[in-house]
C-alpha cells in the first residue's frame, strides 16, 4: 500500500484540461470510436460502391 503522500493542494481547484475530460469519459470515446470508422470507412465506402457505373 502506498504511503500517504504530499500532493499539490491547489489541484482540486484547477480546471480539468479538455483533453483529459475527453480521455476520462469512456462513453464519449466509445461514441467517437464507433462513429469515425462507420462514417469514413463503411458509409463512404458503401457510397463508392453504389456509385460505380454500369458497363455499357
Amino acid at each position: 500500500m502506498a504511503e500517504p503522500v504530499q500532493r499539490n493542494t491547489n489541484e482540486q481547484e484547477q480546471p480539468v484540461p479538455v483533453l483529459q475530460q475527453i480521455l476520462d469519459n469512456p462513453f464519449l470515446l466509445l461514441f467517437l470510436g464507433v462513429v469515425m470508422p462507420t462514417v469514413f470507412y463503411i458509409l463512404w465506402g458503401v457510397m463508392e460502391i453504389v456509385t460505380i457505373p454500369m458497363a455499357n
Binding site: 500500500m1 502506498a2 504511503e3 503522500v5 500532493r7 483533453l19 483529459q20 475527453i22 480521455l23 476520462d24 469512456p26 462513453f27 470515446l29 466509445l30 467517437l32 470510436g33 464507433v34 469515425m36 470508422p37 462507420t38 469514413f40 470507412y41 463503411i42 463512404w44 465506402g45 458503401v46 463508392e48 460502391i49 460505380i52
Partner: protein, 563 residues
C-alpha cells in the same frame, strides 16, 4: 449479496472471486485453442514447405481455414476477454459487473467456436477465414461465428459496466490506470469490429440458407474487412496495454507521460480501424480518395500513435532502470535488464518484432500503389505473423508467465523451458515471417497449395530463390510451432502439476481498500532527454523504416506502367 475478494500477497493484486474464475476459464480456453491452432499451423507450414508438401490440396485448404479462424479470432478473443476482466475488475479492485452475463458470453463464444469448428471439420466450409462470397460455406459456419461475436460483445459490455460500477462505488482515486485505458481502447475497437461482423455475417448466413438471393461481393469485402482487420486492431490495443503492464510489473516503470500515452490510445480509437482499407487497395472501383484516406488511417495518425508507444514503453523502462543506477552509457539499462525472465523477454521481443517486422511492413504494403506488388502474395501473412504472433501472441504469453502463477497459486512448471521459450518462439516466428516476405516479393501466392502449379495447362516456374525462401519458411515455421508447444507445456503443466503456493490469501467479504493514485514521480533530476538510449533505438527504427519504404517504391517503379 456479498462479494468475495482476495488479495494476492505476492503481486498485491485484488481478485474478485467471480472475475477470477472468468479470467481463468477464458485464458485457459484460449490456450487450449492456441494449442489446436498451433497443430493446424504446423500442418500448413509443412505443406507449404516444397520439399515436404505434406497434405493433399483439399485437406490443406480445410486445415488453413481452421488455422486462420482459431488463431485470428478464437484464441485471441478468448484471451482478450480475460484481459478485459483483469484490467477492469482486478486492476480497479472492483466487483465484476453482472458475472452471469459474462458467463453467458463465455458459453456463447465456446458454443459458437464449436459450431464453426464442426462446420470446418465436416469439410463443406473450406472457405478460408475470409469466406468471400459467392463461394459458399455451410450455414452453421456463419452461425457459429455470429454466436461467437455476440458472446464477445457481451464481454465488452461487462467490461464497460465494470468501469461504471468502479466509478460509482469509488473503488479508485482519480482517473483509471493507463493499462485499463488501453483495455478500454481495445474494447471500443472490439465493439465496432463485432458490429461490422454482424452487419455482414447475418445477411451472409441468411444467403447461405437461401433466404437472400444475392450478396454483393464487393460490399461483402468492404464490410467484412471492417471486422477482419479491426479484429487485429483490438490485438494491437490489447498488446500495447500488456507492454505497459509488464513494464510496470517487472521494472515498476511509470508512463513517461500519461497525456502522451493516453493521447496515442485516443488516436487508435479515432483512426486505427480505418486501416481495414488495406485489403481493398487493388479492388475494382472504390475511389482513390477513399483508399488514400482510409489506408493511411487519416494521414497515418494511428501509425504516429504506434511510434509513440514504441518509444514510451521502452523509454519508461529506461527511466526506471536509470533510477535504479544503471546509468552507464546509452544502453546499460537494457543490457542489465532481466533477459532470463520470460515475462520481460517475451514483452521485449514482442515490442521489437511488432515494430520492425509487423509495423514497417504493414505501412509499406498498405501504401496504395505499393499494394499492387504485394496484394495476396505470401508477403501478406509474412506481415501479419509478426503483428499477431510476435506482437500479440508473444505479449500474451509473457503476461501468462506472470498471471498464471498468480491466478492458480502455483509455481511455474519447467521454468528453464519458459526462459528459452520466448526466444525460440520469437526467433522462429520472426525468421519464418522474413522468409515469407521474401518469397512474396518474388510473387509466391498466399493460400496456395502448390507453387509448382502441377496440373496447370501452361507451365511457370518460380526461381530457385523462391523455393529456398519457402523451404526456410518451413524450417523456421516448425521452430516457431515447437516454441508455441513449449508455452502450452509450461502453462498446462503449471496449472495441473505446478507446485502449490501456500499463500494464505483467503476470500473475504471485506471491501478492498480504495486503489490509490500512483506515488508522484521523484523530482526531476535531469532537464530533459531522460531516455537517450531509447531515442537512439527509435532513430535506428526510423532509418530502417525510411530505407525499406523507398526500396519498395523503387521496386514498384520497375514494373509495367499502368493507370
Amino acid at each position: 449479496m456479498s462479494e468475495l475478494f482476495r488479495t494476492c500477497p505476492r503481486s498485491g493484486l485484488v481478485f474478485h472471486k467471480a472475475a477470477e474464475s472468468l479470467i481463468k476459464f477464458n485464458a485457459v480456453t484460449a490456450v487450449v485453442f492456441l494449442a489446436v491452432g498451433g497443430v493446424l499451423g504446423l500442418l500448413v507450414v509443412m505443406t507449404r514447405w516444397p520439399a515436404v508438401h505434406l497434405l493433399s490440396a483439399d485437406l490443406f485448404y480445410q486445415v488453413l481455414t481452421g488455422h486462420g479462424i482459431i488463431m485470428l479470432l478464437v484464441w485471441i478473443i478468448f484471451f482478450e476477454m480475460a484481459v478485459l476482466y483483469f484490467c477492469s475488475s482486478t486492476l480497479l479492485r472492483c466487483r465484476l459487473a453482472t458475472p452471469r452475463f459474462a458467463w453467458l458470453g463465455y458459453v456463447l463464444m465456446l458454443g459458437g467456436a464449436a459450431i464453426t469448428g464442426v462446420a470446418i471439420l465436416q469439410g463443406g466450409s473450406s472457405v478460408m477465414m475470409t469466406s468471400y462470397v459467392p463461394m459458399p460455406a455451410a450455414p452453421h459456419f456463419y452461425l457459429g461465428l455470429i454466436l461467437f461475436a455476440v458472446g464477445a460483445l457481451i464481454g465488452c459490455f461487462v467490461f464497460l459496466g465494470t468501469l461504471v460500477v468502479a466509478k460509482n462505488e469509488r473503488t479508485y482515486e482519480g482517473s483509471i490506470p493507463l493499462v485499463t485505458f488501453g483495455a478500454l481502447t481495445a474494447c471500443i475497437i472490439a465493439i465496432f469490429t463485432i458490429a461490422s461482423g454482424a452487419i455482414i455475417l447475418i445477411p451472409t448466413f441468411l444467403w447461405s440458407v437461401g433466404y437472400i438471393s444475392n450478396i454483393d461481393p464487393l460490399m461483402y469485402r468492404v464490410i467484412w474487412w471492417a471486422m477482419g482487420h479491426s479484429s487485429q486492431q483490438i490485438n494491437v490495443a490489447a498488446h500495447v496495454s500488456v507492454w505497459y503492464a509488464i513494464a510496470a510489473i517487472v521494472f515498476g516503470a511509470r508512463p513517461m507521460s500519461e497525456r502522451v500515452s493516453r493521447g496515442a490510445f485516443l488516436l487508435y480509437i479515432l483512426f486505427l480501424q480505418l486501416a481495414s482499407a488495406h485489403h481493398i487497395l487493388v479492388d475494382p472501383g472504390v475511389g482513390t480518395e477513399w483508399k488514400i484516406f482510409n489506408t493511411s488511417y487519416a494521414m497515418y495518425l494511428a501509425v504516429l500513435a504506434s511510434m509513440v508507444h514504441g518509444l514510451t514503453v521502452p523509454g519508461s523502462i529506461e527511466v526506471a532502470q536509470r533510477e535504479k543506477g544503471y546509468t552507464n552509457g546509452m544502453f546499460e539499462w537494457l543490457r542489465k535488464a532481466p533477459w532470463g525472465n520470460p515475462v520481460f523477454s517475451g514483452m521485449f521481443i514482442s515490442l521489437v518484432g511488432f515494430g520492425f517486422l509487423g509495423g514497417i511492413t504493414g505501412v509499406v504494403m498498405g501504401t496504395e500503389q505499393i499494394n499492387l506488388i504485394i496484394h495476396n502474395t505470401i508477403y501478406v501473412p509474412g506481415h501479419f505473423h509478426p503483428t499477431v504472433v510476435l506482437g500479440t501472441t508473444l505479449a500474451f504469453m509473457a503476461l501468462c508467465y506472470f498471471l498464471v502463477p498468480v491466478l492458480f497459486r502455483r509455481e511455474l512448471f519447467l521454468p528453464g523451458l519458459a526462459k528459452w521459450q520466448t526466444y525460440l518462439f520469437g526467433g522462429g516466428t520472426a525468421l519464418m515471417s522474413l522468409f515469407m516476405m521474401g518469397a512474396g516479393t518474388l510473387g509466391v501466392a498466399r493460400r496456395h497449395w502448390d507453387m509448382a502449379f502441377s496440373g496447370a495447362p501452361f507451365s511457370f516456374e518460380f526461381g530457385g530463390a523462391a523455393y529456398m525462401m519457402m523451404g526456410l519458411t518451413g524450417i523456421f515455421g516448425v521452430i516457431s510451432v515447437i516454441g508455441g508447444a513449449a508455452f502450452v507445456i509450461v502453462i498446462v503443466g503449471t496449472i495441473l502439476l505446478g507446485k502449490k503456493i501456500e499463500d494464505k490469501s483467503e476470500y473475504s467479504t471485506a471491501r478492498p481498500a480504495v486503489l490509490p493514485m500512483a506515488p508522484p514521480a521523484p523530482a526531476n533530476t535531469g532537464t530533459g532527454f531522460i531516455a537517450p538510449g531509447t531515442f537512439a533505438l527509435a532513430v535506428v527504427f526510423l532509418a530502417t523504416f525510411v530505407v525499406y519504404y523507398f526500396l519498395n517504391w523503387m521496386y514498384l517503379s520497375s514494373v509495367w506502367p499502368m493507370k
